[in-house]
């Protein structure tokens, strides 16, 4: 025991010190953002000047609540549709062997591998060329978000389908249940956790997306992330305006 302590002592204490610094690095910028939100002046300043709740008041005006509501609605609908489309795909990929299975698996998973930003510009360009430019805004965002969220829905459901013992469903069938009943009473309830997790993943992924939304949103129909980003880009230009940014 004492030996264990002695060889642990030096390096382990040094490691702990390093880890504390890394934690400061992780948490610092997030805390600073939180603190600056109580700043009294219209400046990205630290330490903040005075204390004020005016920016919090500002945050709860239609200028910001509008995009926030838009984002929540978009992400909710995205999660719903991506779960509905992902369910049959997960069943097919996890349970069945069929020609083209590999291709389907690759197609389903590749939005996760290719950069979201490129998926965004490809969709923008495609909608413009195909004459569906009018869809830009909510509908294009919905389409794009479902594409990038589908891998999450499919994967989480497929994992819970694979984890389920096949004997349970077999038993229900042997006891006279129809396949539809087995699906409704056994299979779906047993992978409920996976379906739910997939929907939550899809919601979060959609809600936090910047890289795709940037390209297929339109003024008035922009998620909150894109709204904040363009605001910050503007503020950046404002702050550095008299110093020319390069």
């Amino acid at each position: 025991m004492t030996r264990a302590l002695s060889w642990r002592h030096g390096p382990w204490t040094a490691l702990k010190l390093g880890v504390a610094l890394i934690y400061a690095f992780i948490v610092g910028p997030i805390l600073i953002t939180a603190i600056v939100s109580f700043n009294a002046v219209n400046r990205s300043q630290f330490p903040p000047q005075g204390f004020s709740l005016r920016w919090w008041g500002e945050a709860f005006t239609p200028q910001w609540l509008g995009p926030l509501a838009f984002s929540l609605e978009l992400s909710a609908v995205t999660a719903l549709i991506s779960t509905a489309l992902g369910l049959p795909l997960a069943f097919a990929l996890a349970r069945h062997e069929f020609p083209g299975r590999g291709a389907l698996a690759a197609l389903t998973m590749s939005p996760l591998i290719l950069p979201t930003l490129v998926t965004g510009i490809a969709l923008l360009q495609f909608l413009q060329i195909a004459g569906f430019g009018a869809l830009l805004g909510f509908w294009a965002l919905l389409i794009g978000h479902v594409v990038i969220c589908l891998p999450f829905s499919v994967r989480t459901v497929a994992i819970s389908l694979k984890a389920m013992p096949p004997a349970v469903e077999q038993a229900a069938l042997n006891l006279g249940a129809t396949p539809a009943t087995v699906l409704r009473e056994i299979t779906i309830p047993l992978c409920k956790a996976g379906i739910f997790a997939g929907a939550v993943f899809a919601f979060i992924h959609s809600f936090s997306d910047v890289n795709l939304s940037l390209f297929v949103a339109r003024p008035g129909q922009r998620p909150v992330t894109v709204t904040i980003l363009s605001f910050l880009e503007y503020v950046g230009d404002f702050v550095f305006g008299d110093h020319s940014r390069d």
């Binding site: 390096p11 805390l31 600056v36 630290f46 930003l117 360009q125 594409v147 390209f215 950046g236 702050v239």
Partner: protein
């Protein structure tokens, strides 16, 4: 007969249920990417794509210094981000796997906390730290180290730090899962055979956790080269990366063929990273 008929009907329904989503992905994902690929080989004239095929878009990307520098800067930033992520994530992951602290769960959650805050919020924190009236400048001025505020923004290294901060949790996750997979008796065996703590770490733990290190590096690298928000907030016209350049080309200049060519470069890089990941046996589990 009727049972066979019903089975046939069910089969048709199954095919339909799979064909629907598959068609959705083909129309709204595969086809747009095919268009993107073809646009990158087309001549763009007066903000319209023409039918003339060309390699000029790629020639321009790789010969005109402005674009070439953008590509190189993107990869240098991506590589540095990957390196910083791995170097910071390793001790943290090692500590989290080995600690017997009762706060272990909380500490793990805290190390992943940045994932919960939007990348924009995290980047804005760095903006506040590095801006003209930010933490660094005000601190240095209060200590009388400098008279005039330093111009820390916009800069490539600010983008690098911001991205490394945003992507650190991915490194922690991949390296932790690698370290968790190492059988502790291997270390005991090495020490039992006379290796000291450092030697054991260098010749047993480090090599065995390599897949996690490689995975963390490649994951951070691949997300960093296509990130938009951080370079847009912490960078400027002198520090354009591929993502911000693509945005300029596609949205402001409407030069679709050049924008598409940039997009294809990003796709090819992602596929190369995927191949490297497979070749190195690296972990991709953080996704």
């Amino acid at each position: 007969m009727s049972s066979a008929h019903r089975r046939g009907g069910r089969r048709a329904l199954h095919v339909l249920l799979v064909a629907g989503p598959a068609l959705f992905l083909i129309v709204f994902f595969a086809l747009p990417n095919a268009y993107l690929l073809s646009a990158s080989f087309q001549v763009s004239e007066a903000q319209q794509l023409t039918d003339t095929l060309t390699l000029d878009n790629y020639r321009l990307l790789f010969t005109r210094p402005f674009y070439l520098n953008t590509i190189l800067r993107t990869f240098v930033i991506g590589g540095s981000v990957g390196l910083i992520v791995v170097v910071l994530a390793y001790p943290l992951a090692y500590f989290l796997v080995r600690t017997s602290s009762r706060w272990k769960g909380l500490l793990i959650a805290l190390s992943l906390a940045p994932l919960l805050a939007s990348v924009i919020v995290r980047t804005y924190g760095w903006y506040v730290i590095l801006s003209r009236e930010g933490l660094v400048n005000n601190l240095l001025r209060a200590l009388d180290v400098i008279g005039e505020p330093l111009r820390l923004l916009p800069s490539s290294w600010a983008i690098t730090i911001g991205l490394a901060h945003a992507l650190l949790p991915y490194g922690v996750l991949t390296i932790m899962s690698s370290l968790n997979g190492i059988n502790p008796s291997l270390e005991r065996a090495a020490m039992g055979l006379g290796a000291n703590r450092l030697r054991t770490f260098l010749s047993v733990v480090l090599p065995l956790s390599f897949p996690g290190v490689a995975g963390g590096f490649l994951l951070a690298f691949s997300i960093a080269i296509s990130a938009y928000a951080t370079p847009a907030i912490l960078g400027g016209p002198s520090t354009e990366v591929m993502a911000t350049q693509i945005r300029n080309l596609m949205v402001s200049l409407l030069d679709w063929s050049l924008g598409s060519a940039f997009g294809v470069v990003l796709i090819v890089s992602s596929l190369a990273i995927l191949l490297a990941t497979a070749a190195l046996g690296a972990k991709r589990s953080a996704l």
